[in-house]
């Protein structure tokens, strides 16, 4: 059974009807990339899954409908969320950001987190607001990895980062996502192809492609049509 199954998802943000018919599913292991041009509603899809935007249609986590469930109860089903723009708590220290993410009743994988991100281990008392962009991204990912989650929703983890930092974030994600289902929003097709085995493309608020990542990345015409990018 899929970890996450979305059918006919419709979301309005204010007056704007952003999503009108997104369908996708995320299998229990591996990374599914959620792709599409800027502003097609990728972030909106993740926000709807987390219960942070009102939605209609169907969003099932492990077969159970979650539309209408409060966000904290959705997260407690074992969903880790790494939002666009990181959203670390800037006034809290690194250690406090992680402590806040500790979910009661499960093991907290500090060993894993500090092994992946030694940078965080060496500065527990630094306010998160004074971290570099790359370190903030690591903290945002660490927050989601701390609990053993069923599903990770990761929104543009490489956005605005220097190429060398992108590499280390990708490396950490490869290791971190080996045993968890992931829905990854990524603008950078190279990063998406590196991490994901499956891809879903949305365009004008609807799913237009669902299938193999390699097929998509290997077909310049297809990728160009849906993503507006040139593929090497």
């Amino acid at each position: 059974m899929s970890v996450l199954e979305i059918e006919a998802l419709n979301v309005w943000r204010g007056e704007a009807h952003v999503l009108h018919g997104v369908d996708l599913s995320v299998e229990p292991n591996g990374v599914t990339a959620l792709l599409g041009r800027n502003g097609v509603g990728k972030t909106t899809t993740l926000l709807a899954v987390m219960g942070l935007l009102p939605a209609t249609g169907s969003i099932r986590v492990d077969g159970e409908e979650v539309i209408g469930t409060p966000s904290h109860l959705i997260a407690q089903r074992g969903i880790g969320y790494v939002p666009e723009d990181r959203e670390v708590f800037s006034a809290l220290t690194v250690a406090e950001n992680l402590r806040l993410a500790e979910r009661p009743g499960v093991e907290h994988r500090y060993d894993l987190v500090y092994e992946l991100f030694p940078d965080l281990a060496s500065r527990p008392n630094q306010p998160a607001g004074t971290l570099s962009g790359g370190q903030q991204q690591m903290l945002a990912i660490a927050r989601a990895l701390l609990n053993p989650n069923r599903l990770l929703l990761i929104d543009e983890p490489t956005k605005g980062l220097a190429p060398i930092v992108v590499e280390s974030v990708v490396e950490a994600l490869v290791k971190a996502t080996a045993d968890t289902a992931v829905l990854l929003v990524e603008q950078n097709l190279w990063v998406a192809a590196e991490l994901a085995s499956r891809a879903v493309v949305i365009d004008e608020g609807k799913t237009v492609y669902a299938g193999d990542m390699d097929t998509l990345a290997g077909d310049p015409q297809l990728a160009g049509r849906y993503l507006g990018v040139e593929v090497r």
Partner: protein, 294 residues
């Protein structure tokens, strides 16, 4: 020199009252974006609870009785705060106009209710004799009640800072002031913290009311409402959601008020505070220790 010391300690005592009223307002606004215009009612309710204890619990000698009075004021503030959040405000999160109408109405209804019960004239608080004695500090004779108010306020400031920095609830509140949706997305029920913050704000304001009844020589239903405007100025100057900022701003506002009233002209103190507010808004619109809006 001795009058300067007296004015300073008097000013700091007033700062303590402003802090107790403003810190709850600041946390409530910071976490829930609710402008609680009924907060003055918590202050007055605490004052009347203290007055009632001092008037009725006569089998205790005045010293211990005052401790009970402070506890009763805190309890009344806590319960009122929690009930207001659970019963009324909870339905109106995100609806700012409705919140303002509700809290204004609630504040007015509370004044009328207390007026009907206790009357509108100030009720004098029975005070332990020690309060009206004086202690000599740097040549000035300071009424002990001023020192007491200052001491309790500092104690509560330290306690509040410890609560916010050392407990999980405190951690959730500090994170929630920044980004409640993200706290929720981490699997934490932020709404529980909303009730806790209202209860905490009510408790602090309630204690403020008990001490205010000493400072202002009596408690009347509208005393809290009268102080609320200064508390709002303190919140804005200090920076929304910042407890240390609120403490600093409370001292700044109260000292300005007392110095100007005594050294320049009586009655100019309140106006000078408004000028201070305007200056801070021009130079540092996010407040002294607040974060700039993104």
């Amino acid at each position: 020199m001795s009058s300067f010391v007296l004015y300073t300690i008097t000013g700091l005592g007033l700062a303590g009252l402003y802090f107790l009223l403003a810190s709850g307002l600041s946390l409530i606004f910071g976490l829930m974006s609710v402008l609680n215009l009924a907060h003055g009612a918590f202050f007055a309710a605490g004052g009347f609870a203290a007055w009632w204890v001092m008037d009725s619990v006569t089998f205790l000698s005045p010293g211990p009785r005052f401790l009970v009075a402070i506890g009763a004021a805190a309890l009344v503030g806590t319960v009122t705060g929690a009930l207001v959040e659970r019963g009324l405000i909870r339905r109106l999160y995100g609806k700012h106009v409705e919140q303002i109408l509700l809290t204004i109405g609630l504040g007015m209804a509370a004044v009328a209710l207390m007026g009907g019960w206790f009357g509108y004239d100030p009720r004098l608080l029975t005070q332990p004799g020690w309060f009206t004695d004086t202690t000599e500090i740097a040549g000035a004779n300071i009424p002990n009640s001023r020192l007491l108010i200052l001491g309790v306020a500092v104690l509560l400031l330290v306690g509040l800072m410890l609560f916010l920095s050392r407990t999980r609830h405190g951690l959730i509140i500090r994170a929630g002031v920044e980004n409640p949706a993200m706290v929720q997305a981490l699997g934490i029920d932020v709404a529980r913290s909303f009730t806790i913050v209202f209860a905490l704000g009510g408790a602090l304001a309630g204690v403020g009311g008990a001490l205010g009844a000493v400072y202002f020589n009596g408690i009347s239903p509208s005393l809290g409402t009268a102080q609320l405007i200064f508390a709002f100025i303190v919140v804005v100057i200090g920076g929304l959601g910042s407890v240390p900022g609120t403490a600093l701003a409370a001292a700044l506002v109260a000292l300005t008020q007392v110095y100007v009233n005594n050294y320049v002209a009586t009655g100019l103190g309140s106006i000078s505070v408004v000028i201070l507010l305007a200056l801070v808004l021009l130079i540092r619109p996010q407040g002294l220790l607040g974060k700039a809006a993104p």
